[in-house]
Amino acid sequence: MRLNTKRKKSAKGVDYGFATQTAREFIQKYDINWLPVDAFEIVEKYAVATHKNIEIKTIEDLSYETGLDRQTLINKVIYGEDGLAIYDPGMDKYSIVLDEKAEPFGRVRWTVIHELGHIELGHLNDTRTSIVKWLLSTKEYEKMEQEAHIFAGEVLAPKFILYRIGAHSSAEIQDICGLSIAASDSRENAIRELINDKRKMHDSMLQIIPTFASFLEFKTICCAPEALRIQSRITQNPPAQKQTSPLNVHILPSGKYEKCPLCGNMQISDDANYCKLCGTLLYETLPQNLPSSPCNRLGDKDASYCENCGHIVYKTRIGLQFERDEI
């Protein structure tokens, strides 16, 4: 892979390299290892780690606490946007004010990380307390907005992870990353650029692969395909060839065959009831209390059948079907 070490800057002064590299370091530093990203949890983690006082406030809360109506706050405080980061130098406090009515939820997720991007990219300071048009020149405003946009895109839908999965379409990005259609379209374009021009591969893209190791891991799942979250992302391993006549196989004291009598598979877990490669029952006589099927168990990535219940299994990446805390 050719490494592109040149830092790309646009005519507006947008530092793409700085924004993407900051995003990738952010992913590693705050252990963002699953998609969709839990943006609100990341803000908490970030605040604790950096000792920054950051609070997320909704327009609804602000309206209740100030007695001002929603529309005034939306039009005149966050300028009709979905959110705004405000820095209070006197209190050394950052507030991310959100329009909680923005839908779908993916839009809120994007706004939170976009505003956090302004903080992490150092856009806010004692004199620049918010990124709003009137406070900055058009060039400065667009540069900072674009950099926060790049940051949010890379944190919420890391280009190389999606490339590795093979998720290139906006619809798939929407499903996997939990983003709005507009944000997913924008990420689709970024990934297509990478596919069309491999010179854009950067070694920093690879840095985040270990962080996402569990998310990317292949496993098999014993379930009906319609129970899976992303059904377009499943395959099946072909079953192993069975012998026409059973092999001469030693039977263990537990009553289980030492290896599969029909395909010869020797990779048998201690609690296996069936051969994972050909689905043959591993007991000479039918044991009692065999589990019902399908049993939802996770199996090795090379399995064709469930070792527990003998059902056909589907191969997939763990992260595409499960939430992080489900495993």
Binding site: F40, E55, I56, K57, T58, E60, D61, L62, Y64, E65, T66, G67, L68, T72, L73, K76, V77, I78, L84, I86, D88, P89, G90, M91, K93, S95, V97, L98, E100, E103, P104, F105, V108, T127, R128, T129, S130, I131, V132, K133, W134, L135, R229, F322, E323, D325, E326
Partner: protein
């Protein structure tokens, strides 16, 4: 909105390894609404809260108590903002409420209230006590009509009750 409530619901669900989509199936509440609730962006109705409590095997009282506690926190901030002496609040929220000509497009009073609300209540417990205690509330309301001597006496009593609030 209930950030603490949402965080508590999310932590319970994660502890029990229940994915949000499964909680949605069990409660009949859309996955999207659960996302909003868990992140403090929407307030669940009592009916939705009861369904969530049942699905996560937690008492409804526990969830309602968190909800009430949180609403009181917000009431404390609202109370403090509405009773603040705005003349002494500096208007350094430069970005908010201005147009390109650096002219305010919203009243100074409104901006100062926003600033105070973003800062949060400075002495939440004392304010909560006033909100919750009818006697203290009466003293607070009556203070406008009291003489300076009376106020000084009340201040001494309050200082002994809330030493932290009077630290300089």
């Amino acid at each position: 909105m209930g950030k603490k409530l949402g965080t508590y619901i999310k932590s319970l669900r994660k502890e029990q390894k229940i994915p949000a989509r499964v909680l949605s199936e069990r409660t009949g509440i859309s996955k999207s609404f659960i996302d909003y609730v868990e992140n403090g962006l929407r307030e669940p109705s009592a009916e939705s809260l009861a369904k969530i409590a049942a699905a996560l095997d937690v008492s409804l009282d526990t969830l309602i108590n968190i909800q009430v506690e949180e609403q009181l926190d917000k009431a404390a901030t609202a109370f403090e903002v509405s009773n603040a002496d705005l003349e002494n609040v500096s208007l350094d929220l430069r970005a908010a409420g201005r147009n390109r000509d650096n002219k305010s497009n919203v009243s100074e009073e409104a901006l100062k209230k926003v600033k105070l609300a973003l800062q949060g209540s400075s002495n939440k417990q004392a304010v909560l006590d006033i909100i919750q205690n009818a006697d203290l509330r009466a003293i607070f309301r009556a203070s406008d009509n009291l003489s300076d001597d009376d106020i000084a006496k009340i201040r001494k009593v309050m200082e002994s009750l809330y030493p932290d609030a009077f630290k300089h």
